[in-house]
């Protein structure tokens, strides 16, 4: 009994420390990514970007965050109140939960569940529900349009994403993220599954609603899409969730294709974060390279190209696995 209690004690302590660490990481990561986004976009357009506050504008996003916190939380008259208040929470909580299983290094992981990747995939589907809640409860046609687009897009891109991940899992034979990294001891999976990597990155970009798949919040048509009616910290939570989602899809791609924390000389965490931020840079690069796709192109691309390709990839993987 006492042993169980002490075991529970260490587990609880690990969870609490992990949660605090994750919340710190999420906030700092979002602050950094917003600055990075502005800098990357600026330099791609041959302009300097934010320069005034701090070294090369590095404190700019902290000022923005303080401003957001001080802003009034506006609740429009005709919104569906309970759902309107809940949506920012529902978008943010699952994002925190997914950090439970992400292996930053050999030992730096809160809980190495043997269903790790399923947990990430399951909780990432909740983002769609939250977006739908936000769009629907706002009682605003732009919000509803954004939400509807988001749902159609996410359903379409989730299928190839899952099938692509499955072809990697087939090679490893485990859902455990640390096992997937361990299986890449000799070579990274991007070398044997280049098509899967490309498919994954495309689907991940679509799942996080990034350009060129940012139809749910297309500024030029829908004001701001599903979060048009949100202000202050409620809006900030959506923003935070979006940037954290970007981190998570990149972290999963790192684990699945780039060998996770593996790398010479430097410690594992550094390698892991380097790979993650390199992938995030790639996704940001997309934003300033490809124009936004039309909606019919978006859906056709998913159903007629990505899904057949991902299934073909899965079949070929299974066939080769049986052969060798």
């Amino acid at each position: 009994m006492e042993m169980l209690a002490s075991y529970l004690g260490t587990e609880v302590a690990r969870m609490v420390v992990g949660l605090i660490g994750v919340i710190a990481l999420v906030s700092v990561n979002a602050l950094f990514l917003i600055w990075m986004e502005r800098k990357v976009s600026a330099h791609i357009m041959l302009r300097p970007g934010p320069m005034e506050v701090g070294w090369h504008g590095s404190v700019q996003t902290i000022c923005d965050a303080v401003k957001l916190m001080a802003k009034e939380l506006i609740t429009p008259e005709e919104v569906d109140r309970p759902v309107y208040y809940l949506a920012p929470v529902v978008v943010f909580l699952p994002v925190l939960l997914t950090f439970l299983v992400i292996p930053f290094s050999q030992s730096l992981i809160i809980k190495d569940l043997n269903v790790g990747i399923v947990l990430i995939l399951a909780f990432s589907t909740l983002t769609v529900l939250a977006i739908l809640m936000a769009g629907w409860s706002s009682n605003n046609k732009y919000s509803v349009f954004g939400a509807i687009r988001s749902v159609a897009q996410n359903i379409a891109y989730e299928i190839p994403l899952l099938v692509t991940v499955m072809s990697i899992l087939l090679m490893v034979g485990s859902f455990k993220l640390s096992d997937i990294v361990a299986a890449q001891g000799r070579y990274w999976f991007i070398l044997v599954q280049p098509l899967a990597f490309i498919l994954y990155i495309i689907c991940a970009t679509a799942e996080t609603n990034r350009t060129p798949f940012d139809l749910p919040e297309a500024e030029s048509e829908l004001v701001a899409g599903f979060h048009t009616e949100y202000s202050g910290m409620r809006f900030a939570l959506f923003f935070l969730a979006e940037y954290t989602n970007m981190f998570i899809v990149s972290a999963v791609a790192t684990v699945l294709f780039l060998g996770g924390w593996r790398g010479p000389i430097l410690p594992g965490v550094v390698w892991f974060l380097l790979k993650v931020y390199a992938l995030i840079f790639l996704i940001m690069w997309f934003r300033w390279t490809f124009p936004r796709v039309r909606f019919d192109q978006l859906v056709t691309f998913a159903w007629k190209i990505l899904i057949p390709l991902s299934f073909a990839n899965l079949l070929i993987t299974a066939f080769l696995m049986k052969l060798f």
């Binding site: 009994m1 169980l4 209690a5 529970l8 004690g9 609880v12 569906d80 759902v83 569940l113 043997n114 269903v115 399923v118 947990l119 995939l121 399951a122 909780f123 589907t125 909740l126 769609v128 529900l129 739908l132 809640m133 629907w136 409860s137 509807i148 749902v151 996410n154 359903i155 989730e158 859902f175």
Partner: protein, 175 residues
């Protein structure tokens, strides 16, 4: 750390009742709310509770699959159906007593059937059947011992699809 002063059994009981409360509240919202969008959210909450029950029964894989498939896919698909239904700003028709009665009788019959079934069944604790409940074992069982059940469940999807086709066809033509 007041949590640690409780015995593990007490913690487990509290967790069980919390999960049950979530499931029941979700189910009530799903049935009773007048706004159809709230119904779906209630259903999602209820399914979350069911996932919690699976977690309580020490099978995280089934719990996560419950979230991935039922909350993530089915509820979203239902939202799609809502978008094809009547606009919410129209006045809703009043509840009809006969429909409520029908619903209560139907649900009651299912409840009675399940109650009888649980009383008649000889329950074998999972630990006595097998000790290995890993995902691999579950997969093997689904494709060997329980392959027939697995396939029969897929008939449900076929029926749902046929039903959708029938309803959609009628709606298009008449309106």
């Amino acid at each position: 750390m007041s949590l640690l002063s409780l015995s593990p059994q007490a913690v487990a009981t509290v967790a069980f009742f919390m999960v049950m409360a979530v499931t029941l509240i979700g189910a009530l919202i799903a049935v009773a709310a007048r706004n159809i969008f709230h119904n779906v959210l209630g259903l999602a909450l209820c399914l979350f509770g069911v996932a919690g029950l699976f977690l309580y029964l020490n099978s995280p894989f089934v719990a996560l699959m419950e979230i991935l498939i039922y909350v993530g896919a089915i509820c979203i698909a239902i939202c799609f159906a809502i978008m094809l239904s009547e606009p919410l700003y129209l006045p809703r028709p009043p509840r009809s007593a006969s429909k409520i009665l029908g619903g209560v009788v139907g649900a009651g019959l299912v409840l009675v059937f399940l109650g009888l079934l649980t009383r008649k069944t000889q329950w074998v604790p999972a630990a006595q059947r097998s000790t290995d409940w890993s995902v691999t074992t579950l997969g093997h069982y689904l494709l060997t011992n329980y392959a027939l059940i697995f396939e029969v469940i897929s008939l449900l999807l076929l029926v749902a699809m046929l039903g959708a086709v029938v309803i959609a066809r009628g709606g298009r033509g008449s309106s």
